[in-house]
């Protein structure tokens, strides 16, 4: 009887404490975000709708730097262009907008909305550009904001904004940023010490397209060894026919000291290769680090499970609970084959910059997803 009563008492106390915590937390967030230098950017992307809260102080805006306070996303798969995904995207866009202006009290003028280049390219391919127009009009009507600007960004502008959003001022003019996506790769650099001229770099290969091409060659042997052999063939072809040419044509080698990679695979490899630096948004790596990772992954993927990584981590070096959660998330998004494909593509690109005489510094960027929308907010708020 006593045990039951004590249990109930504890439960009530826990609920009260939790409520108190949420109320305090919410108040502090609202107070912070109400400030005039907090902005929000909402992006309709190929996979879903993303919201980022960006803080710009006076000094930071002069230097073109900013701080990403929080980001969240809702997966809606807009580029499937079905009624269901359209409705889901519209709902996500409206809800995130309302979340920014009502719950976080950000003035509507400080909320920026845009559609990514991936969506517009796919819509053009499938002759579905009217779906984007319809989405924008419905969003304006639903929120009673007929004058709201929803910009459709082109690929070069998106790559330029990503560079501004990810690479710090001090490394702006000597860093080549490459975003490895699921279906393609894009990026570039600023060749002339100004942020207007941008040299675009593009590849038709991405993590998923490389994996798909290897899968198609498997035949009846579905083993990981066969997958690896076929992947090597696919990537050798990609290197010979496209990557070498694209890197040479970009003229990036002599102008860049740093080569930074963003995109899902950069986030995944960074998390698994350097778990000690889990708190870092960017981690430095070498070609050999990534090669070693790829070989171990093919041989024994268990070495990169959340259990094993946390177990082998020295104490007090990083937050182990967060690390376990992040590694689990990586393994949920990328299976062994997707990781091998992305890493293989990453290595092929890295190899172009790993010369005998001069070696570039390589970085993997984890928070690349919020890069361009944050830079878009920064640029438009300064104006």
């Amino acid at each position: 009887m006593f045990t039951k009563l004590t249990g109930r008492l504890f439960l009530v106390l826990a609920i009260i404490s939790l409520n108190c915590f949420f109320l305090t937390a919410q108040n502090s967030v609202v107070q912070k975000f109400e400030s005039s230098n907090i902005y929000a950017g909402i992006e309709v992307g190929s996979k879903g709708v993303k919201l980022s809260f960006v803080e710009l102080d006076k000094k930071a805006s002069e230097e073109g730097e900013f701080k990403i306070l929080k980001d969240t996303s809702v997966n809606t798969d807009f580029i499937s262009f079905t009624t269901a995904t359209y409705q889901a995207t519209l709902a996500a866009l409206t809800n995130l907008y309302q979340f920014a202006i009502k719950q976080n009290r950000i003035p509507s003028a400080n909320v920026f909305t845009a559609v990514s280049s991936g969506v517009s390219i796919q819509a053009e391919k499938e002759d579905k550009k009217n779906w984007i127009d319809q989405l924008i009009n419905a969003f304006k009507t639903d929120n009673n904001e007929p004058d709201r600007k929803v910009t459709i960004i082109d690929v070069k502008e998106e790559a330029r904004l990503s560079h501004l959003g990810i690479v710090p001022e001090a490394r702006r003019y000597n860093t080549f940023l490459i975003d490895i996506g699921s279906g393609n790769t894009k990026g570039g650099y600023f060749p002339y010490d100004n942020t207007k001229d941008f040299k675009l770099f593009q590849l038709t290969w991405g993590t998923k397209s490389a994996a798909n091409a290897a899968e198609k060659k498997l035949g009846t042997d579905n083993s990981i060894d066969n997958f690896n052999s076929q992947l090597s063939r696919v990537l050798a072809g990609a290197e010979e026919n496209e990557i070498v040419y694209a890197v040479n044509a970009s003229g990036a080698f002599p102008k860049s000291d740093n080569i930074a990679f963003s995109g899902g695979i950069a986030w995944a490899v960074a998390t698994l290769v350097a778990p000690e630096l889990n708190e870092n948004a960017v981690i430095p790596v070498s070609y050999d680090d990534v090669l070693q990772f790829s070989e171990k992954l093919a041989k024994n993927p268990g070495l990169y499970s959340d259990y094993y990584i946390v177990k082998t981590m020295p104490e007090n070096i990083t937050d182990l609970d967060k690390l376990a959660k992040d590694v689990k998330q990586v393994n949920k998004v990328f299976d062994q084959r997707a990781l091998l494909s992305g890493t293989g593509l990453l290595l092929k690109i890295m190899r172009q910059f790993d010369g005998v005489v001069e070696r570039k510094k390589f970085y993997l960027v984890k928070n690349g997803a919020v890069g361009w929308i944050s830079a878009y907010v920064n640029q438009h708020s300064v104006k």
């Binding site: 000094k59 710090p168 490394r171 350097a274 000690e276 630096l277 708190e279 870092n280 948004a281 960017v282 981690i283 430095p284 041989k299 024994n300 268990g302 070495l303 094993y308 177990k311 020295p314 007090n316 070096i317 970085y363």
Partner: protein, 309 residues
């Protein structure tokens, strides 16, 4: 007449003997010539046999690589197995200790109301756990033996391979044990409060915006033209101070992987006293001791402590 006949017969016999000699000589010559031809033919075949030998060597090399690869896989799987076994063993040991303390508590409490059937059950359970542990221990032992065997195989394969395959590497490894080639002197670490116009040194944690550090390195022993040096700044809580992901990273030391706060890559000429400077942005510093360590080739070559109040 009879004499003429005998002479004729004698002449025919002599002719036959002569013909026989000629035939025997021709046969002998042919035999000798054939032998010579065979020898020449063998000499021509020689490059083919070299190729065969090379193929055999290549296949042996492949076999060797495959064996090493297999051993590597075995080692990885054995390591994983031994890890999981250790985990199971830990769990069993925890159960064992729990039961033991429960039994001790029951036996201590010798009141009449106490039910000794419970104690007996627990003792039986404990006995089962002990047997389980014994079994598990045997499995761990056998896994350990397996692991040692695999390690021995690898090291013996490595010992055999090194002189043949990479004798040069072996020599260079012997010549370069991991020791620091540089010395670091005049180490300075200063907390700085920075406003728009100037920077002022401070000893107060709440006023500090960043750390400025500097030290001089020197090397008389090596012809190194490019050097790499890591700076680790430890906060009072023992964690590494990192200003940005672009500056920090990891490096290997004898004690394992470590995080650095800042890395220098610089060109160097022997005997030069090179002053290296760095700056680390630091928000929300706490009071206490900040330790700056300079590493080269995985070894500490300098250390300085700065106290902030």
């Amino acid at each position: 007449m009879r004499d003429t006949k005998s002479l004729l017969l004698l002449l025919v016999s002599l002719l036959l003997v002569l013909v026989s000699f000629v035939l025997i000589w021709t046969w002998g010559y042919n035999f000798y010539a054939k032998d010579q031809n065979q020898k020449t033919a063998t000499t021509i075949v020689a490059p083919d046999s070299a190729r065969i030998a090379a193929t055999v060597r290549d296949s042996l090399q492949k076999l060797y690589t495959a064996t090493l690869h297999e051993l590597d896989i075995q080692l990885d799987s054995t390591l994983t197995n031994s890890d999981s076994l250790k985990y199971q063993l830990d769990a069993k040991l925890a159960e064992f200790y729990r039961l033991r303390s429960e039994i001790v508590a029951l036996l201590k409490n010798r009141s009449n109301s106490n039910n000794f059937t419970d104690a007996k059950q627990k003792i039986d359970e404990l006995q089962r756990k002990v047997d389980d542990l014994k079994d598990k221990n045997q499995v761990v032992d056998s896994e350990n033996k397996k692991l040692t065997e695999v390690l021995n195989q690898i090291s013996s394969a490595d010992r055999n391979a090194k002189p043949v395959i990479n004798a040069k590497t072996n020599t260079s490894e012997k010549l370069n044990p991991p020791y620091a080639l540089f010395t670091a002197t005049d180490l300075r670490l200063a907390a700085v409060s920075a406003d728009e116009e100037k920077e002022t040194e401070t000893t107060q944690a709440e006023k500090a915006d960043k750390f400025n550090g500097s030290f001089t390195v020197m090397n008389f022993n090596s012809q190194l033209t490019n050097a790499e040096m890591m700076v680790v700044v430890l906060k009072p809580d023992g964690k590494v101070l990192k200003s940005s992901g672009w500056d920090s990273g990891t490096f290997n030391t004898a004690e394992g992987k470590k995080i650095y706060s800042y890395k220098f890559n610089f060109s160097y000429t022997r005997g030069e006293a090179k002053r290296l400077l760095f700056s680390l942005k630091a928000d929300g510093l706490t009071k206490g001791n900040y330790t700056m360590e300079v590493y080269q080739n995985g070894q500490v070559i300098g250390r300085v402590v700065k106290t902030l109040s």
